[in-house]
C-alpha cells in the first residue's frame, strides 16, 4: 500500500516544482524573453482550468449516475469556442481596447463605467463561486481520504481540518504569485505557465487511467463497448429539459465565470491565440471526456453498489495494485483543483479590490490625502486579504454544507449563479440600447431568483425552517415555493432555476433598458462596445483638456503605476507631442490614454473617478455626443483627414513656440547676465583699486596694511572663481577637455562629493539620506568630473532648499548598461515655467544676491554629463527639486 506520507510529500514536491516554474517564467517575462509564453498552445492549455476537480473526479461520478448526460458540460463550451467569430472575438477585442481587468470591469465599463454595476457583479461572483471553491476543497479532501483510510495505522481522518490545511496552502501560493506586482495589464505569466503545466498533467493522468481501464482491465475498445451495453447505464435516460439547460448553462459559464474570463480575455495577447484555441480547446475537452464512460462502467462493474463513483479514477488503479498510476491520478486531480482555485481567487480578488474597496476608499478620503497615499500598496494588500477571504468562504461553505453532496450538483449551483451575467453581457455587446438601469435590474432579479431557488436550498436544506418553506412556501404562500414557482410543479430543480432566473433576468434587463434613458457616458461606451470593429477614427473621449496640472497627474500616476512606468508614460507622451522632458501638455487625448492605463490597474470605474477627481473636467463634450448620433458619423469621417493634418501642424507649431520661448528667455537672460557680470567684475575691481591706493600711502600701521591686503586677496579670489567657472564651461563646450577615465565605485564618488559639499557651513540643519547598499556599482568614468556634478547639485540644494530641516535623498539604480541616480531635496522644488531653462548658461532663479554665483553650475553639470556619455534632467513631481542623472557603466570609446 502506498504510504500516506509519500503521497503528501509528492504533492508538496509537485507544488514546489510548479512554484519554481512560475518563478522562472516571471523572470523571463521581466527580461523580455519568453515570447513562447504567449504562444497559442500555452493559451489553449491555460483555458483548461475550465476542467476542475469537478471534471477530473466528478465527471466519472456523473456518468456513473446519469450516463451520457455528463457530456453536456463540455458541449456548451465547445459550441462557444467553435463559434469564436461570433462572440469571443468581439469580447477579446473590446477587452484589449478598454483594458478590461475582469468580468465585473467589463460590465461596469459598458454601462457608463458605473461603480454600482461593478459592485453588484462582484458580489454575485463571490457568492456564486464560493460553492465552486468548496467543491475543489471537498474533492482534494475526498481523494486524500481514499489513501488515508487505506493506509495502515493512519490517524483518525478529519476532513474539515484537512480542507483547512489545503485552503491555507492554496491561499499562500496564490498570494505569492497572483499579487507579486500590480501589472498594468493584469497579466500573470508565471501563473499562466503553471496552469498550462497542470493542464498537461491532468490530461495525461486521466488518459493514463482510461488506457489502463480499456486495455488492461478490459480487452480493447470493442470489448469496452460491449461492457457499456451490459452496464446499468446502458439505457440512455435522456431528459430533454436538462439536456438543453445544461448545454446552455455550460456555454454561458465559459463566458461568465470570473476565472474563465481571466484566462480567455484578460490574459489574451492576440487574436491568433483565439483562432488556435477555437479548435484546440474543444479537442482538449474531447480528449478529457473520451474515457469517462469506460472508467465509470469499469467502476460500476468492480465495486459494490454504494461506493462513491466520484472516486473511481483513484480507486480503480488502487484496487488493481497500480499505486504509481493512482499517484499520477491523484496529482492530476490535485492539479485540476489547485489551478482552478488559484485563478478563481486571483480573478475574484481583482474584482473585490477594484470594484468594492477602491470605490469606498475614493469616497471617504479627503482631497489632501490624495497625494500622500500609496495606492499600489493598498490595492495589493486588499487583494491578498481578498484571496484569503475567498478561500475562507469556500471552506465555510464546505463545512456548512457538510461536504456530502455529489460533486456535480455543487458545481451546477455556481454555473447558474454566474450565468446571470449573460443577458447584461451579450446585450451590452450587441445592443446599443442596453442601459445601466436595465443591467442592474436584470442582474438583481436573476441573482435573487437563483439564490432563492437554488443556492439557499443547497445550504439550508437540513434546517427545519427551510424544509417548511420548501414544502408549503414562505408564510404558507404556495405559489412562492422555492422549487415550484408560480405553482408549476414537477420540474427538475435545475431546469426550474435556470428557466425562471434567466427568463426573468432577461425580461427585467430588456424592459428596464427600454424604459430608462442612458447618460452621456453610457451612450459613448455603448457605441465603443457595440461598434468595436467599425471604429478606426479617434475614440470619443470623456475629457476636456487642461484642467489638471501635468505635475499633479504625474504624482498620482506614480502612486498607481509605479514611478518607472509612470515616468516612461509621461516622457513618451511629451515626446509624442513634440516637447521634451517629463511633462506633456494635458490634452484630452492624453487624459484618455492615462485613464486607460489606470483602468488596467484599478478597473475602469475607479480610474474614471480618479481622473475626474484630479482633473475636475468630467464632462462629455459636444463632439462625443455628436459621434453617438448616427447622422453625425458621416461628417466626422470627412473631417478626420483635416484633423490629422491640423494635428501635424499643431505639433510643429508647438515645437516652434517652445523653441521661440526658450530663445526669447535666453536672450533676456544674456542681457541681464552681461550687466550682472559687469557689475560682479566692477565691484571687486573698485575695492581692489581703492585699497591698493590706500596701501600706496605713507604712514599705515602694520595691522592695517595686513587687513587691506587681506581684503584685496579675498576680492581677487572671488574674481578668479568667477573666471574659472567661465573658463571651465568654455573648455567643456569647445570639446577640448581631457577626461581622466578610471574604474571606480559609484559609492566612493558620491561619498567624496558629499563630504566636500557638507564641509562648507550652512545656515540650516542639513542631512543626506543614502543607501550604501545600492550604491555599490562599478563604473568606468572620470570620478573627479562626476563628483563635481554631485557637489554642484548638493550645494544647490543647500542654497535653495527652503525646508526648515534640509534633506537630500540620493537613490541609485541600475538600468541596463546605465546607472541612474536621483538627487532629490525636500524643498518646494522648481516652478514649472522655470524647469526648462535651469540648465541654460546664466540661468538664475529668483533672488540673485542669495545665490552668490553666476548661474553657471547646472550648465557645467550638463556639459560634464554629456562628456561622460550620460544625461541630467529635472524630474518633476517628486515633492522637492529632483534631478535624474544617467551615466553609462562603461563609456563607449568614441573620441
Amino acid at each position: 500500500m502506498l504510504p500516506f506520507n509519500v503521497l503528501v510529500a509528492a504533492s508538496v514536491g509537485y507544488v514546489a516544482v510548479l512554484f519554481a516554474l512560475a518563478f522562472a517564467a516571471e523572470r523571463m517575462a521581466e527580461r523580455g524573453r519568453g515570447g513562447w509564453l504567449r504562444s497559442p498552445v500555452v493559451y489553449t492549455l491555460s483555458l483548461s482550468i475550465y476542467c476542475t476537480a469537478w471534471t477530473f473526479f466528478g465527471a466519472v461520478g456523473y456518468a456513473a449516475r446519469s450516463g451520457l448526460e455528463f457530456v453536456t458540460i463540455y458541449l456548451g463550451p465547445t459550441l462557444v469556442m467553435v463559434g469564436w467569430w461570433l462572440l469571443l472575438r468581439k469580447l477579446v477585442r473590446i477587452g484589449k481596447a478598454q483594458r478590461i481587468t475582469s468580468v465585473a470591469d467589463l460590465l461596469s465599463a459598458r454601462y457608463g463605467k458605473s461603480a454600482s454595476v461593478g459592485a453588484i457583479v462582484t458580489l454575485i461572483a463571490v457568492v456564486g463561486i464560493t460553492p465552486y471553491i468548496a467543491l475543489q476543497l471537498q474533492s482534494v479532501t475526498l481523494a486524500l481520504s481514499v489513501f488515508a483510510e487505506a493506509a495502515p495505522g493512519a490517524p483518525a481522518w478529519e476532513p474539515k481540518e484537512t480542507a483547512l490545511v489545503v485552503a491555507l496552502g492554496l491561499a499562500l501560493f496564490t498570494v505569492l504569485f497572483g499579487t507579486r506586482n500590480l501589472d498594468a495589464d493584469e497579466r500573470h505569466h508565471g501563473v499562466v505557465l503553471a496552469i498550462a503545466v497542470e493542464a498537461v498533467v491532468k490530461l495525461v493522468a486521466l488518459i493514463a487511467v482510461g488506457v489502463f481501464v480499456v486495455w488492461e482491465l478490459g480487452a480493447g475498445p470493442v470489448d469496452m463497448l460491449a461492457r457499456i451495453e451490459a452496464s446499468p447505464i446502458a439505457d440512455w435516460q435522456l431528459d430533454p429539459g436538462r439536456w438543453v439547460a445544461l448545454t446552455f448553462l455550460s456555454g454561458a459559464a465559459l463566458l461568465c465565470l470570473p476565472r474563465m474570463f481571466q484566462v480567455l480575455v484578460v490574459e489574451n495577447v492576440d487574436e491568433r491565440q483565439l483562432a488556435t484555441a477555437s479548435w484546440a480547446f474543444p479537442l482538449y475537452l474531447f480528449l478529457i471526456s473520451l474515457f469517462v464512460m469506460p472508467i465509470a462502467v469499469a467502476g460500476l462493474e468492480r465495486f459494490p453498489a454504494g461506493s462513491n463513483p466520484d472516486l473511481f479514477v483513484l480507486t480503480l488503479p488502487l484496487s488493481a495494485g497500480r499505486e504509481g498510476l493512482a499517484m499520477l491520478a491523484f496529482l492530476g486531480g490535485f492539479s485540476a483543483a489547485t489551478s482552478m482555485v488559484i485563478v478563481a481567487a486571483i480573478a475574484l480578488a481583482t474584482m473585490v479590490s477594484n470594484h468594492i474597496v477602491l470605490p469606498i476608499w475614493l469616497s471617504v478620503r479627503t482631497p489632501q490625502s490624495r497625494l500622500s497615499e500609496d495606492v499600489r500598496g493598498l490595492v495589493l494588500n486588499v487583494r491578498r486579504l481578498s484571496i484569503a477571504c475567498v478561500l475562507g468562504l469556500g471552506w465555510i461553505y464546505y463545512s456548512v454544507s457538510g461536504g456530502g453532496a455529489a460533486l456535480a450538483a455543487i458545481g451546477l449551483i455556481s454555473f447558474v449563479g454566474v450565468a446571470q451575467f449573460l443577458p447584461a453581457m451579450v446585450g451590452g455587446l450587441f445592443w446599443r440600447g442596453a442601459t445601466r438601469t436595465g443591467a442592474v435590474a436584470g442582474l438583481v432579479t436573476g441573482f435573487v431568483i437563483w439564490a432563492y431557488t437554488f443556492f439557499l436550498p443547497s445550504v439550508g436544506a437540513a434546517t427545519p425552517l427551510w424544509a417548511e418553506v420548501q414544502a408549503i412556501g414562505p408564510y404558507g404562500i404556495g405559489w412562492l415555493r422555492p422549487q415550484a414557482l408560480f405553482g408549476i410543479e414537477g420540474i427538475d430543480p435545475l431546469v426550474h432555476s435556470v428557466f425562471w432566473s434567466m427568463a426573468l433576468n432577461t425580461a427585467a434587463f430588456v424592459g428596464a433598458s427600454l424604459l430608462s434613458f442612458p447618460g452621456p457616458l453610457e451612450r459613448v461606451q455603448g457605441v465603443e462596445f457595440v461598434g468595436v470593429f467599425e471604429r478606426d477614427g479617434p475614440a470619443p473621449r470623456g475629457w476636456q483638456g487642461g484642467v489638471a496640472g501635468a505635475e499633479e497627474l504625474l504624482a498620482m500616476a506614480q502612486r498607481i503605476l509605479g514611478p518607472g512606468e509612470a515616468q516612461r508614460l509621461f516622457q513618451d507622451a511629451a515626446q509624442g507631442q513634440g516637447t521634451g522632458g517629463f511633462l506633456p501638455e494635458v490634452t484630452p487625448d492624453f487624459l484618455q490614454q492615462l485613464e486607460r492605463r489606470f483602468a488596467g490597474a484599478v478597473g475602469s470605474a475607479t480610474a474614471h473617478a480618479m481622473i475626474a477627481q484630479a482633473g475636475g473636467g468630467t464632462s462629455v463634450s459636444v463632439d462625443d455626443l455628436m459621434k453617438v448620433a448616427d447622422e453625425a458619423q458621416q461628417i466626422m469621417e470627412y473631417s478626420q483627414k483635416l484633423e490629422a493634418q491640423s494635428e501635424e501642424l499643431s505639433r510643429t507649431a508647438r515645437q516652434l513656440r517652445e523653441a521661440n520661448r526658450k530663445l526669447t528667455e535666453l536672450s533676456a537672460q544674456k542681457d541681464a547676465f552681461l550687466s550682472q557680470i559687469s557689475h560682479e567684475l566692477r565691484t571687486p575691481m573698485t575695492s581692489i583699486r581703492a585699497f591698493s591706493e590706500i596701501l600706496g600711502e605713507e604712514g599705515l600701521a602694520d595691522e592695517e596694511r595686513t587687513r587691506y591686503a587681506g581684503v584685496i586677496h579675498a576680492e581677487t579670489v572671488r574674481l578668479t572663481r568667477l573666471l574659472d567657472d567661465l573658463l571651465d564651461l568654455s573648455v567643456l563646450e569647445s570639446g577640448n577637455v581631457q577626461l581622466n577615465m578610471k574604474e571606480t565605485n559609484l559609492g566612493d564618488v558620491i561619498a567624496r562629493a558629499v563630504s566636500t559639499a557638507s564641509a562648507a557651513p550652512g545656515a540650516k540643519p542639513f542631512r543626506i539620506l543614502r543607501e550604501p547598499e545600492t550604491e555599490k556599482v562599478e563604473i568606468v568614468t572620470d570620478p573627479d568630473r562626476l563628483a563635481q556634478v554631485f557637489i554642484n547639485l548638493i550645494t544647490n540644494a543647500r542654497k535653495y532648499c527652503d525646508a526648515p530641516m534640509q534633506e537630500v535623498r540620493i537613490e541609485v539604480r541600475r538600468q541596463g548598461g546605465q546607472a541612474q541616480i536621483d538627487v532629490v531635496d525636500n524643498g518646494s522644488g522648481i516652478p514649472r515655467e522655470s524647469q526648462e531653462i535651469i540648465f541654460e548658461k546664466f540661468a538664475r532663479l529668483g533672488d540673485h544676491t542669495r545665490a552668490g554665483g553666476a548661474g553657471l553650475g547646472l550648465a557645467i553639470c550638463r556639459e560634464i554629463m554629456e562628456k561622460l556619455g550620460g544625461t541630467i534632467a529635472y524630474l518633476p513631481g517628486q515633492g522637492g527639486a529632483a534631478f535624474r542623472l544617467t551615466v553609462p557603466l562603461r563609456l563607449a570609446r568614441a573620441a
Binding site: 465547445t78 459550441l79 457499456i228 439536456w243 488556435t276 479548435w279 461598434g531 470593429f533 478626420q640
Partner: protein, 92 residues
C-alpha cells in the same frame, strides 16, 4: 477621406475570406442543432440500450466540429494587411 465607400465587388481573395467568415458564424448553429438531434430519438422512452450508439453519435459530431473549426481558423484567422476596406462588414 480616410475610408472611402467599400467597393461594390471584391477581389477573389477577399470575397472568399468573407464567405469563410460566414461559415465560421454558422458552425456553432449547426453544431447546436446536431447536438439536439438525440432529443428526437427520445431514448428515455425506449427500452433499447442506446447509450453506445448515442455516445458514438455525440463524439462523432464533436470530432466533426473540431475539424471544421480547425479548417476555418486557418482561412479566417489573422487578417492580411491589404484588406483594410471591408472591416465594417464584420461588425456583428
Amino acid at each position: 477621406m480616410r475610408r472611402p465607400k467599400p467597393p461594390l465587388f471584391l477581389e477573389r481573395d477577399s470575397y472568399r475570406r468573407r464567405r469563410m467568415a460566414d461559415a465560421a458564424r454558422l458552425v456553432p448553429v449547426v453544431g447546436a442543432l446536431l447536438f439536439l438531434v438525440p432529443l428526437l430519438w427520445a431514448p428515455a422512452e425506449t427500452d433499447a440500450a442506446d447509450t453506445v450508439p448515442g455516445g458514438l453519435y455525440i463524439f462523432l459530431v464533436w470530432a466533426g466540429l473540431i475539424l471544421a473549426a480547425f479548417l476555418l481558423s486557418r482561412r479566417v484567422g489573422p487578417e492580411p494587411p491589404t484588406r483594410k476596406l471591408g472591416d465594417s462588414e464584420e461588425g456583428s
